[in-house]
């Protein structure tokens, strides 16, 4: 058989069915996350007894986890810096745009690959694990210290705050170099523009000196800005769900909250409104993220979510069409392209532009095979004949 049989079958693209199943998924997830609490008391006692007896073995035996107990998985700081607190007291801070992947995590060693960006490591001294950070052309080995590794297309840079690290690699002169506190090592990648030598005191040197402006997590904040606070509604949403979070804001205060909420939290605030059944209130935070923060990486998602609401419960296809256009201006993430082209075709039909709708539907089916509402798109095309 040359092509999959699925091409000859109808796909269940019923939006209502998928939405009902989504509600079911959320209920099941919530039930499973509640379940451990019922036995938490007994488990805590048993765990304490076991931990007292096995502490030394546990501490050095298994993989290193995050402080909250979550496994250490591939981690990205997409738009804002973030920090990982680890169970052994170590800490990793990632600058915005950094991707760090654990490749080996065992009782005696932990290997991490810095795929891109800048990360600061504060490794707890005397810990049982040898740490290795692979930054492409250079590898950093350490037991207990604080240091910074930066990897970009142009260079790899390692800077030691305190303690000692070994930088190794075939590109390292002599195979390895030892760095002590306050020392830095840098290597330009072959083919990249060499950085011009910078005289001490020059603007360039000052800019370079600012690279390790630690801690990274605070790097994008104004020095005197107050520390970011987690809004109360967000805490309530995480602990008790969307309805409780909406109630904690109050219907009358929702607009004011949407106007003063940080851009990073606007999608979550819209989630609270949607999930608590107040769809009309989701519009304001989504619209604000799209209009006021178009450079924010979540702005396209906000536009798509808003257009989806306008096509669905808000029944305003004209507005949906404009919002889809805005989403495309902002850059539609690959995973949402099928949903957007399907939505645009349906919105065009609803606003009385059947010719454009057919073009959009045809292109959508060509690109995706089985986009959302495929049957509806096929009907739009059939209307051509």
């Amino acid at each position: 058989m040359r092509r999959p049989l699925a091409d000859e079958l109808r796909a269940p693209d019923d939006e209502l069915r998928l939405r009902e199943n989504w509600d079911g998924v959320r209920e099941r997830v919530a039930a499973r996350r509640r379940r451990p609490r019922r036995v938490a008391g007994a488990a805590a006692v048993l765990g304490l007894v076991a931990l007292v007896g096995l502490w030394p073995r546990v501490r050095s035996g298994g993989p290193l986890m995050q402080a909250g107990g979550a496994p250490l998985s591939a981690t990205e700081a997409i738009a804002t810096p973030r920090a990982l607190e680890l169970a052994d007291g170590s800490r990793i801070e990632l600058a915005a745009g950094t991707r760090l992947v654990p490749t080996r995590n065992a009782g005696s060693r932990i290997d991490l690959t810095l795929e891109s960006g800048r990360a600061r490591f504060e490794v707890e001294p005397g810990g049982p694990r040898a740490w290795t950070i692979d930054a492409g052309s250079a590898r950093v080995r350490v037991v207990g210290t604080a240091f910074l590794v930066e990897r970009s297309a142009r260079r790899v840079r390692v800077e030691v705050e305190h303690g000692r690290v070994a930088v190794e690699g075939t590109a390292v002169p002599g195979g390895s170099v030892l760095l002590g506190a306050g020392e830095a090592w840098e290597m330009a990648h072959p083919g990249s523009e060499p950085a011009p030598p910078s005289a001490p005191g020059s603007a360039e040197a000052e800019a370079e000196a600012r690279v390790p402006a630690l801690p990274l997590v605070a790097a994008e904040r104004e020095p005197d800005a107050p520390p970011a606070r987690v809004a109360r509604w967000r805490q309530v949403a995480d602990a008790e769900g969307a309805e409780a979070a909406y109630a904690s804001i109050g219907e009358g205060a929702f607009s004011a909250t949407a106007r003063r909420t940080e851009p990073d939290q606007l999608l979550a605030l819209a989630d609270v409104a949607r999930r608590s059944g107040h769809v009309h209130h989701a519009v304001e935070p989504l619209d604000r993220l799209v209009r006021e923060f178009p450079q924010h990486p979540e702005a396209p998602l906000a536009a798509i979510t808003l257009a989806r609401l306008q096509m669905g419960p808000l029944a305003d296809p004209g507005a949906a069409l404009r919002t889809y256009a805005r989403a495309r201006d902002l850059g539609v993430p690959r995973v949402f392209d099928a949903e957007v082209c399907s939505g645009v075709a349906r919105a065009l039909v609803a606003t009385g532009a059947p010719d454009e709708a057919r073009g959009e539907a045809r292109e959508c089916l060509r690109r995706h095979g089985s986009p959302p509402r495929r049957a509806e798109l096929e009907r739009i095309l059939d209307a051509d004949e």
Partner: protein
């Protein structure tokens, strides 16, 4: 309206450097997984929106029952969201989800077989290949699909699932093995064992 006709991923307008940046930073599966692990509800929503349709279609075709398919789909995503931290390679999200779904399907197939053997389930399948064939399929092809349904019904579920993943879903053999959580050799053996029977029954028609 010009922006509407611009295919996503197509060339960015010259005046909009920002657009290029936004596309470069479009959330991949890996980013969605990372954000979901951080507790962002929209990321779970996005993962569901991206894959639910495809996973549901596969479950329905493997189970041949639409009502059971909804239940299995919900369990699949509940499993996924409560064990997302175990996903070693976030960019392999799709095959990981399919793997969870197939394990859930297999469990449901065992339950259904037992219930049928005990006479507790006399309901009929409502999502066989012939029943969910596209309206554009010719009558001859429809008859072939109906014959295929009969043959698939007789196969061992492990062979049937492997064959369906390969020939209905169009998965590569390597992905079939990954989804079924078995070796490539086992996946090949299951697919070809089913293939022999299917070809024997449909050979004349091909």
């Amino acid at each position: 309206m010009a922006a509407l006709r611009e295919p996503a991923g197509g060339p960015a307008p010259e005046s909009s450097g920002r657009l290029v940046v936004a596309r470069d930073r479009a959330p991949s599966d890996a980013i969605l997984v990372a954000r979901a692990l951080e507790g962002d509800a929209w990321a779970e929503d996005a993962i569901y929106r991206c894959y639910a349709g495809k996973v549901l279609a596969m479950i329905e075709r493997l189970l041949r029952r639409s009502s059971d398919a909804d239940d299995v789909l919900q369990d699949t995503f509940a499993d996924a969201f409560t064990s997302l931290g175990k996903l070693r390679e976030p960019s392999a999200l799709r095959s990981w989800l399919f793997g969870i779904a197939v394990r859930r399907v297999r469990r449901r197939q065992r339950t259904l077989a037992l219930r049928r053997a005990l006479g507790l389930d006399r309901s009929l399948d409502d999502a066989t290949l012939a029943m969910i064939a596209s309206p554009s399929v010719s009558p001859e092809r429809m008859a072939e699909l109906a014959r295929l349904d009969v043959i698939l019904e007789r196969l061992h579920p492990d062979q049937r699932n492997a064959w369906m993943l390969r020939h209905v879903e169009g998965e590569r053999l390597e992905d079939v093995a990954r989804i079924l959580d078995c070796s490539l050799a086992t996946a090949k053996r299951r697919v070809s064992a089913a293939e022999v029977l299917v070809r024997a029954a449909l050979g004349e028609a091909r």
